[in-house]
């Protein structure tokens, strides 16, 4: 297989930091350029340019201009989610293979537009997800093996123990917006929108279906920054499928001190013959000693929530030392890209295609409606 050229849309302080590293590390791909739309703010442009400098490739202003470069086979898509749908549509129309950041787009309608564009162009696509982690694959094997009998329910939690939690002062309910439009801020982001897509995606993949109805709540439980930006830091959703299967998912950011590792990352499979749990941090060693425990340093001014690898390193956020899981969670991004390149090499279909990734976006949109109305909502 020849090495495929990758155009990175978006730069530092996006997941492109991880995606670009994955493509750069894989011998079957190489980065050709970094690009974005012309009409972006100066901060985003500067961060994009820094990623291009990191890989010693040109930065191109304008998506059409970038797509005209020779040698581009794949687009790694990390455009801001508010405008992601139109950038994906342009790249898919140019016939490029799409590696997509999650979620597909800002809402279910725009995610449908993304899928339509990709379907029309018949290009291979994959959205980043957790389906290639060892613990998620073990859960899938459990379901497919039938050893739990008929599947009754799936429960998934993906909560990030990052950021200086405990700063929220109120104890009042969040007033949710049925159709949020703004997701990207420096100080915070909509965590259920951004992180909830992981556990919801796992639930739909494990149940191999999409739910009909959801009941959801979002909250401002931990961070004052999220209150100030009117963004939720937590969300929980219950999903009802045809045939009686139920799934529940939580997604959010709970604070650095609220977990001994990266946060609760767990799937529970309930079948008529029993219940099994799959945890990202199991099996593990637990190390306790007189050595001083790592402490969260002052937040990075451009990333107080500790979202991005570059700013985590710049702020000196230490690695937590108590849990030593036998699995290497630092491989999750790399493993997802390896799986994507494997599919391209073999001509097989990725697991989390854009078609499958539409489901989580539909659930998240319905969950916002439910959180706003206080009632279950159809998906």
């Amino acid at each position: 297989m020849r090495s495929l050229g990758v155009l990175c849309v978006g730069g530092l302080q996006t997941h492109q930091e991880n995606h670009a590293a994955g493509f750069d590390a894989d011998q079957r791909s190489h980065i050709v350029a970094v690009a974005d739309e012309v009409d972006i703010d100066d901060r985003r442009r500067a961060l994009n340019i820094r990623l291009a400098e990191q890989y010693d490739v040109p930065y191109i202003e304008g998506i059409e201009k970038a797509l005209a470069l020779p040698g581009i086979d794949i687009v790694s898509m990390c455009a801001d989610v508010e405008r992601r749908h139109r950038v994906v549509a342009a790249c898919a129309a140019a016939g490029k293979i799409m590696y997509l950041d999650k979620p597909l787009a800002a809402n279910a309608g725009r995610a449908s537009e993304v899928l339509q564009a990709i379907t029309k162009s018949n290009v291979t696509s994959q959205m980043y997800s957790f389906v290639h982690t060892a613990w998620a694959k073990a859960a899938k094997e459990c379901v497919e093996s039938g050893r739990m009998g008929k599947l009754l329910s799936v429960h998934a939690d993906i909560l990030f123990a990052k950021g200086p939690g405990g700063t929220v002062t109120g104890n009042t309910p969040r007033r949710e917006t049925a159709e949020p439009t703004k997701f990207t801020f420096v100080e915070s982001k909509r965590e259920f929108f951004d992180l909830g897509v992981y556990p919801i995606g796992l639930c739909l993949w494990l149940a191999d279906a999409e739910p009909e109805t959801v009941s959801a709540v979002t909250g401002n439980y931990f961070f004052d920054q999220h209150v100030q930006n009117d963004t939720e830091d937590f969300g929980a959703v219950m999903m009802e499928f045809a045939g009686g299967v139920v799934a529940t998912a939580t997604g959010g950011r709970i604070g650095w001190n609220s977990h001994l590792a990266g946060g609760p990352h767990r799937i529970t499979i309930v079948g008529e013959l029993g219940t099994e749990r799959f945890d990202a941090w199991e099996p593990r060693l637990e190390v306790y000693s007189t050595a001083e425990s790592p402490k969260l340093p002052p937040p990075h001014p451009q990333d107080p929530m500790g979202m991005w690898r570059s700013t985590q390193q710049a702020a000196g956020i230490p690695r937590k030392t108590t849990y030593t899981p036998l699995a290497d969670e630092t491989r999750w991004y790399g493993d997802d890209i390896t799986a994507f390149m494997d599919c391209l090499e073999k001509g097989s279909e990725p697991v989390m295609t854009a078609a499958r990734a539409l489901g989580p976006s539909k659930v998240v949109s319905a969950a916002y409606r439910s959180a706003a109305s206080g009632y279950p909502e159809p998906v």
């Binding site: 329910s153 104890n171 309910p173 401002n220 939580t250 013959l273 219940t275």
Partner: protein
């Protein structure tokens, strides 16, 4: 098909175990180490012979104690025989997902709990291979 059996499980009465467990959770809150309690994930594994309904009730009662009031919103799914889940929301915005399903080959495992507060969290993974040794609610 999973079926209930009439044989008593080989662990202490569920009521004593759950009462002690709930007391421990409430103590963790009142100790002030996790801030305001905001979310509970209660995932019970019900032994053969046990009741899904009773299990949900125990979980819901624990959440009521944790949040200090009755929920203002409840939505329930599942069947009443093998599995069920309650999504509950309180006036403060706190919420809970309370689920129960078959324990299968792990009798006596009891509930797994995640209680997330505004500045900390409590995790309880059940008995994890050992057997519960709390014989009554008053045992220490």
């Amino acid at each position: 098909m999973w079926r209930y059996h009439s044989a008593m499980p080989d662990h202490p009465p569920a009521s004593a175990y759950n009462a002690r467990l709930t007391d421990a959770l409430i103590s963790a809150i009142t100790d002030g180490r996790i801030g305001l309690p905001r979310f509970v994930r209660w995932l019970d594994r019900v032994d053969s012979g046990g009741s899904i309904e009773d299990s949900l009730e125990v979980g819901l009662e624990a959440c009521k104690r944790a949040f200090g009031s009755e929920p203002v919103r409840e939505h329930r799914t599942g069947d009443d025989l093998l599995h069920a889940t309650i999504h509950a929301v309180w006036a403060t915005g706190a919420s809970a997902l309370i689920s129960a399903g078959p324990a299968g080959g792990k009798p006596g495992a009891g509930p797994e709990i995640m209680l997330v507060g505004s500045s900390g969290a409590v995790y309880f993974d059940g008995t994890i291979g050992s057997k519960p040794t709390v014989a009554s609610a008053g045992d220490r």
